[in-house]
């Protein structure tokens, strides 16, 4: 039945052409609709981020004034003869609107001066000045950032967080790699049972074991300090082990066999065959750990509360929030400072993330 299109009668061809045109048009319409929907949803999705940025650049008054504009805008004023005058948008009968400073207030008519030409003749204007709109200009209050930085000792907290994240990362990644190697390359009795126990600990909330652990560290006189937070990281964590094991299982065994024939022992094989081939996976879990540490709250809260100089950003900002609740601009500035480093890392390394999440969550 397959007749070539060119052998068809002209009217059939025309209909086919019209059909494809209509279909193309429909496809284009769907593309447009779906993409606009995505744009709309995305703007709602990231709207709070813009709120944070904009608010961090406002003054306290600009935030609390319900009539103030969305952007950080300040009223324009002009200094003349040693006094400050507010600038208003003044409409004239010929339809023009000029930005003039209110010089002398009157009930029915007022006197204005031109802020660009102060020495010129004052301008008389008939109308009620209270109904005029004040002229505003965008003026971000950049000083909120240094102020927030200094009030919370942000530099100190940043260093603490960075230290905690980095030391923990070294421990978590190296221990997980060793354990994952054991689970992925060796056969031993009770391996499956042990592995199931291992992954069950993912589901066990860490708080369940926190009471005796806390009492233990207190009895060693290590509270407040970083030790209770960092030492456990060197004993591997189920999530990382699972992740690396999944990855190691995908590495072909030929090279290991070759290394074995050359007389390499398990340690040597691990170091020179497995690790060099696991670059992306190791980067991915290092990043995961880094972000986990950046967010970690419960541990630092219970182990460091007594030591203000040692707290990471998460816990430090909580104190700050309590004290500066009436200074939302500082809180937003601190929030933006907190998120800028993780977001920057994310944009540089997003490929590793997405792969990593997919490896653990899926086939």
């Amino acid at each position: 039945m397959a007749t070539l299109l060119s052998e068809q009668k002209p009217e059939v061809l025309e209909r086919v052409n019209a059909n494809t045109a209509a279909r193309k048009q429909k496809a284009l319409l769907i593309k447009f609709g779906i993409t606009s929907l995505a744009v709309l949803l995305l703007s709602l999705w990231v709207m709070p981020l813009f709120y944070g940025i904009v608010t961090s650049l406002k003054t306290k008054e600009q935030i609390s004034d319900p009539k103030a504009s969305i952007l950080p805008a300040a009223a324009i004023t002009v200094e003349f003869e040693g006094k400050e005058y507010d600038v208003y948008s003044v409409p004239f009968e010929d339809g023009t609107v000029r930005e003039l400073a209110l010089y002398k207030k009157g009930r029915q008519a007022s006197t204005f001066i031109d802020p660009n030409n102060l020495s010129a003749e004052p301008i008389e204007w008939e109308g009620i000045w209270r109904q005029l709109e004040q002229a505003r200009t965008v003026s971000p209050t950049w000083s909120n950032y240094p102020e927030a930085w200094n009030t919370v000792k942000f530099g100190r907290m940043l260093w603490n967080t960075f230290f905690y994240a980095t030391v923990g990362m070294i421990g978590a990644v190296s221990s997980a790699a060793i354990v994952a190697y054991g689970f992925s390359r060796f056969d031993f009795p009770f391996k499956n049972v042990l592995f199931i126990i291992l992954i069950s600990t993912i589901i066990l909330p860490p708080q369940v074991t926190s009471v005796p652990t806390y009492a233990f560290w207190v009895s060693l006189d290590m509270v407040p300090s970083w030790w209770p937070l960092i030492i456990p990281m060197f004993f591997s964590n189920a999530y990382n082990v699972f992740f690396l094991r999944q990855f190691f299982l995908t590495i072909p065994r030929e090279m290991e066999e070759a290394a074995k024939i050359d007389g390499a022992g398990p340690l040597r094989t691990f170091w020179s065959v497995i690790l060099p081939q696991s670059g992306p996976a190791l980067v991915a879990i290092s990043l995961f750990h880094f972000f986990f540490a950046w967010n970690d709250f419960f541990g630092p809260l219970i182990y460091l509360t007594g030591a203000r100089d040692q707290v990471p950003i998460t816990v430090g900002l909580t104190f700050f929030n309590g004290i500066y609740a009436s200074q939302p601009q500082l809180i937003q500035a601190a929030s933006i400072m907190t998120l800028i480093i993780p977001l920057a890392i994310f944009f540089f390394a997003q490929r590793y993330f997405v792969q990593g999440i997919v490896i653990t969550g899926n086939k």
């Binding site: 319900p66 708080q207 369940v208 005796p212 004993f235």
Partner: protein
Amino acid sequence: MSFVDEVTSARKSRRLRWRDMSKLKKHEAKWGYVFISIWVIGFLAFYLIPMVASFAFSLLDFQLAKPGEIEFIGFEHWRRMLFEDELVWTSMRVTFVFALITLPIGMFVSLGLAILLNSEHLIGRDMFRTLFYMPSMIPLIASIFIWSGVLNSQSGWLNRLIEFTTGYPAVGLNGLRWLDSPNLIYIALTYIGIWGVGNAIIINLAGLQSVPTDLYEAARVDGANWFRRLWSITIPMISPVIFYNLVLGLVGLLQYFIVPYILNGGNGYPENTTRFYMIHFFTNAFGYADMGYGAALAWLMFIVGMLITLALFGSARYWVYYEAESN
């Protein structure tokens, strides 16, 4: 395979016995034990022994402030917890009510966005994927501060947006007071947590991409429309992914603590609606430094969490589709 699938398929694996093994195999096995010993030590030191110790603690009158006066009191803490301390049940109820509200919303949003980001009609897909995922990289503490600003009834943008688009007088003291009203607080907490669905979006997306396309083509030939294909092909095919997200979501919600703690110091405002179980636990164990009662509360949480997880895994075979099993 996700770790959740690993648990459901564990039974089928073969068994290895020490006495059946050759000398070479034994040598290998010893190395295996050496490598995993790091985890075994960690498991004993930070999981198993603390679990047992936690139970022992729950039978003691043990105040951290008075370490010299530890006393064995049997199941007194358990009696008080189950029959006297009303806040236990309040906080349990609060945790589950919130889970029932926020989990379906979170799963719906993450699946919906994944479907959108998987659409072949979407122009600039990669860019949209990056941008939708980006906020989940924002540290929770920062998103809590940002969202509580957005949700502020007077100066927040959400109420301004609602008033601007619908005309409903949302702004002001008589408007929508997201963080102060017991009726709105769970929606507000859901907003605060919504950026966290980024991982679920990616996992859903990977699930969607693994559905064989010939299924859709066959359905199209049969005249199935978009909704029908979604309901009869997509959802069943990605049910393992949905299950995985459900397990992780529920486990995370049992530990829900940071948001209510930062918003109002864990005092339960408004009207105890934010007195989550973890808040109650933290207040007793670390606020009052009552190690004995805190340990009892931790154990109750462990039991409840176990029961829920078991129920979830038990239900899996009725609604989660595993390809390997049907072959």
